[in-house]
C-alpha cells in the first residue's frame, strides 16, 4: 500500500501524463487524432464512445492511456493525501494543512474535470437568421429574434485568419453588435434578452453564447451561436479557485518561513 503514495510514483505518473498530453498536442493536427478531438469537443464522452470511438482506434487508444494515467494520478494523490498528510498532520501545523488542502482541491478539480466530460450538452456554431429556431433536448428551443449589427457588412463572413486582422476594437464594437434571442419551452416563450460576446443568456441551465455573425441568404446579418449546458462549471470554478488560493497561501507561508530563517541567520551572524 505504501508504494501507492510514494513520491517516486507521483513523479513517474506526472512525467507520463506530461509526455502523453504533449504527444496529444503534437498530434492534434494529424488526421486520426484531429478527428477524435473534434468529436470529443462536440459530444459527451459516453456519446462519443457509443457512436464514434469504434471507427477511430488510434484516438481511442490515446484516450484510454490518458484516462489510465489520470486515474493513476488520482489514486496516487488520494493515497498520498491520506497516508502522508492526513495521518501525519498535527493540529497546529498550518503548512501541512495547506498542503493537504491543496491536494484535496487538486483531487476535486480532477474529479470535476473528468465528470464534466460525461455531463452537459453542446451545440456549436449554430447559424441562425432572425425568426429561425434551434431545437434543444427536453422540449426546449432557442429562437433568434433580431440581430443588431452596426459594423461594416464587409466584415461578415470572414474566415478565422482574416477575422484576426480585421475585427479590431476600432472597427468592431463588441458591446454594440448584439443578438436578441428567446428560449422556448414547448413552443411558448420562457425567457429572452440580448446577448453579446462574453455576455450569454442563461435559462434553466441552458446558455446561449454569441460567437459570431454571418451573411444570411438575403444578404443581411445572421448570428452564429453556441448553445449548451455545463452544470459543473460553477463547482469546477470554485474548486479551481480554492486550489489557486491554497497555492497562493502556501507560497506566502514559504516566503514568511524563508524570511524568518534569514532573519535568524542574520541575528546569529
Amino acid at each position: 500500500m505504501g508504494w501507492l503514495s510514494s513520491l517516486r510514483v507521483s513523479v513517474w505518473v506526472l512525467a507520463g501524463l506530461s509526455l502523453w498530453l504533449g504527444l496529444g498536442a503534437v498530434l492534434a493536427q494529424s488526421a486520426p487524432l484531429d478527428a477524435t478531438l473534434r468529436g470529443l469537443d462536440q459530444a459527451t464522452l459516453q456519446a462519443w464512445l457509443r457512436e464514434t470511438a469504434s471507427g477511430q482506434p488510434w484516438g481511442l487508444a490515446w484516450l484510454a492511456v490518458l484516462g489510465l494515467l489520470a486515474a493513476s494520478m488520482a489514486v496516487n494523490l488520494t493515497a498520498c493525501a491520506w497516508s502522508r498528510l492526513w495521518c501525519r498532520t498535527h493540529v497546529g501545523d498550518a503548512r501541512r494543512w495547506l498542503v493537504l488542502a491543496a491536494h484535496a482541491a487538486t483531487l476535486a478539480v480532477i474529479f470535476l474535470q473528468g465528470a464534466s466530460f460525461f455531463t452537459g450538452h453542446s451545440l456549436q456554431q449554430v447559424k441562425l437568421t432572425p425568426g429561425q429556431s434551434a431545437q434543444l433536448p427536453g422540449g426546449m428551443a432557442l429562437r433568434l429574434e433580431q440581430v443588431t449589427y452596426v459594423a461594416d457588412p464587409a466584415l461578415l463572413g470572414l474566415n478565422r485568419r482574416q477575422a484576426r486582422h480585421r475585427l479590431t476594437r476600432t472597427d468592431f464594437d463588441r458591446r454594440a453588435n448584439l443578438a436578441r434571442v428567446t428560449f422556448l419551452r414547448d413552443g411558448a416563450p420562457a425567457d429572452g434578452g440580448a446577448i453579446g460576446y462574453f455576455e450569454p443568456l442563461e435559462h434553466a441551465g441552458w446558455r446561449a453564447h454569441l460567437v459570431g455573425f454571418h451573411k444570411a441568404e438575403g444578404g443581411g446579418p445572421g448570428a452564429v451561436l453556441n448553445l449548451g449546458r455545463s452544470p459543473l462549471w460553477w463547482p469546477f470554478a470554485a474548486a479551481y479557485g480554492l486550489l489557486l488560493a491554497c497555492f497562493l497561501c502556501l507560497a506566502a507561508s514559504e516566503a514568511l518561513n524563508l524570511a524568518g530563517r534569514r532573519r535568524a541567520v542574520g541575528c546569529g551572524g
Binding site: S6, L7, S10, V11, L14, A15, L17, S18, W20, L21, G22, G24, A25, A28, Q29, T36, L37, R38, L40, D41, Q113, S116, F117, S122, Q124, R164, H165, L167, T168, R169, T170, D171, F172, D173, R174, Y197, F198, E199, P200, R207, H209, V211, N226, L227, G228, S230, W233, F236, A237, Y240, G241, L244, F247, L248, A251, E254, A255, N257, L258, R261
Partner: protein, 246 residues
C-alpha cells in the same frame, strides 16, 4: 494597427542586448557593480519598449513574439537585478543568458506588433496572457537558479522552491482566467484542442519538480533537469504556439 517603429524593433532591441551582454561580461570579470549598472540600463530599455507597446496599442503586451519576448525579458531583467542584489551573481548571469537567447531568437521571428482584436478589452483575456508571461519569467528565474547551483536541494523552505511555486501560481491563475474566458465566450471551459492539451502537459511538468524525492532533487543531473524543464518548456511551447497560430 500602427506600424511598428524602428525604435522598438531595432534600437531598443539591440540596446537591451548590448546591455545584458555587457552585464554578463562584467560579471565574468568579477565586476558585480558594473554588471548591475549595465543590467539597470537593460531593464530601462525593456521598460521603454513595453511603454512604447502600451502607448501604440492602448493595451498591455499580450501575444506575438515581439510583445511576449519583450515582457519576459523585461521581467527577467528586473528579477536578475534582485538576484544580483541578494548575492546571487550566478543566477543573475543565467537570467541574462536567457534574456540574450530570447532577444537573439526574436531576430529570427516577425517583429511586428500583434494585430488588434475586438476582444482585447476583455479583462479575463488580458489576465490570461499577463499571467502566462509572468509565469514564464518566474519559471525561467527558477531554471536559472537551478543551473547556478546544480544539485542544491529544492525541497523544504528555500528560495528556488518558492520561485517554482510562485511560477506555478501565476500559471494556474492564468489557466483559471483562460477557463473563464473560454466559458463565457464559447460555453466550454475545456476544449479538446492543441492549446488546452499543451497547457495541461505544462502544468504536469511544473508540478513535477515540487514532488521530487529528496535524493532525486539533490542529484545534479536529474534535479537540475526537472528544475529547468518547466521554464524552458513553457517559454518554448508558448512562443511556438504563438508563431504557428499568428
Amino acid at each position: 494597427m500602427p506600424a511598428t517603429p524602428a525604435l522598438l524593433t531595432d534600437w531598443l532591441h539591440w540596446g537591451q542586448a548590448a546591455a545584458y551582454l555587457a552585464a554578463l561580461a562584467a560579471l565574468a570579470a568579477g565586476r558585480a557593480r558594473l554588471a548591475g549598472a549595465a543590467a539597470i540600463l537593460g531593464a530601462a530599455g525593456g521598460a521603454a519598449a513595453l511603454g512604447l507597446v502600451v502607448w501604440l496599442t492602448r493595451r498591455p503586451p499580450l501575444l506575438g513574439p515581439l510583445e511576449s519576448i519583450g515582457e519576459i525579458v523585461f521581467l527577467l531583467g528586473l528579477m536578475a537585478l534582485g538576484q544580483l542584489r541578494a548575492g546571487g551573481g550566478r543566477a543573475a548571469g543565467w537570467c541574462w543568458v536567457w534574456c540574450l537567447a530570447l532577444l537573439g531568437l526574436l531576430l529570427c521571428l516577425p517583429r511586428g506588433l500583434n494585430p488588434d482584436s475586438f476582444m482585447f478589452d476583455y479583462p479575463w483575456l488580458l489576465a490570461f496572457f499577463q499571467c502566462r508571461l509572468a509565469a514564464i519569467a518566474l519559471l525561467l528565474l527558477a531554471a536559472a537558479r537551478h543551473l547556478a547551483a546544480p544539485g542544491a536541494p529544492n525541497n523544504g523552505a528555500n528560495a528556488t522552491r518558492l520561485i517554482l511555486l510562485a511560477g506555478l501560481c501565476a500559471f494556474l491563475a492564468g489557466e483559471f482566467a483562460g477557463a473563464w474566458w473560454s466559458f463565457h465566450w464559447t460555453g466550454q471551459f475545456w476544449r479538446w484542442n492543441r492549446g488546452f492539451l499543451e497547457s495541461a502537459a505544462l502544468m504536469m511538468a511544473m508540478v513535477l519538480p515540487l514532488h521530487l524525492p529528496p535524493r532525486w532533487a539533490a542529484s545534479p543531473g536529474l534535479g537540475t533537469f526537472c528544475g529547468v524543464l518547466p521554464g524552458v518548456a513553457l517559454a518554448s511551447v508558448t512562443l511556438i504556439h504563438q508563431i504557428v497560430t499568428s
